[in-house]
């Protein structure tokens, strides 16, 4: 199943794109596992994900922590702490 990965703010800028569609490999249990798998690509991915304490995530538009089960989502978003309002 294909999953849409969305990037926002400086995560988006470092990776150099706003979204991509990925067929998730087996063995990714948590959101953090997905982040590690992406970071292993190096380059902008490694730069975007170097500080996990400044990374937030949403699965299918619901905010989750990085240790949340990944499941089989349609959409995962990765982004910095929010600063709206």
């Amino acid at each position: 199943m294909a999953t849409e990965i969305l990037y926002f703010a400086w995560v988006r800028e470092r990776i150099g794109m706003a979204s991509e569609t990925i067929a998730l490999p087996d063995g990714l249990t948590t959101v953090g596992d997905l982040v590690s798998w992406l970071a292993a690509r190096g380059g902008g991915y490694a730069a975007a994900f170097e500080d996990r304490s400044r990374l937030r995530a949403a699965i299918d538009q619901r905010f989750v922590t990085l240790d949340a089960p990944l499941g089989r989502p349609r959409e995962v978003a990765l982004f910095p702490p929010v600063t709206g309002g």
Binding site: L6, F8, A9, W10, A58, Q61, F63, A77, F79, P80, P81, V82, T83, G84, G85
Partner: protein, 146 residues
């Protein structure tokens, strides 16, 4: 009556206010966040998570309406590029009595700061920078936990 909106156009405060009065309300409370020109900021760019943002704002508004028995709640957040003095966000609540409207309004802006997917980037004379979250925002949001 709940209404949330994310819009690149300037916020019309008079129209926002009119939209939540009525319906038996005795009081309307509002909060409007403005772009400050602190530290030489010349512009602010707001990015959001289309779809995710509206869902988050609607969930907050629904919580507030239930918790304070509001007659109306409205959140309008601007996105894109804006200038110092312009409104970034409008939160409006209406209730039969003033305490409910005032508390719910404070609740919504506190929670919006930590729970809605918006990101601010400042333009300064020397370049651009993403705004870091403030620890005081987490504290403000936490005080509403039961």
């Amino acid at each position: 009556m709940i209404a949330v909106a994310v819009d690149a156009r300037p916020i019309d405060i008079g129209a926002e206010h009119a939209a939540i009065a009525g319906g038996g309300a005795g009081g309307v409370a509002t909060f409007t966040g403005l772009v400050r020109a602190d530290d030489g900021v010349v512009a602010l760019e707001l990015e959001h998570y289309p779809g995710g943002t509206e869902a988050a704002l609607r969930a907050l508004a629904e919580e507030a309406v239930a918790r304070w028995s509001l007659t109306a709640a409205r959140i309008t957040h601007r996105v894109g590029r804006m200038l110092p003095g312009e409104a970034v966000v409008f939160v409006g609540t209406a209730a039969r009595h003033r305490a409910a409207a005032l508390e719910a309004c404070a609740y919504l802006i506190d929670r919006l700061k930590t729970d809605a997917p918006f990101w601010k980037k400042e333009t300064l004379a020397g370049g651009e920078r993403w705004v870091d979250p403030r620890g005081s925002d987490d504290a403000a949001a936490a005080r509403w936990e039961p």
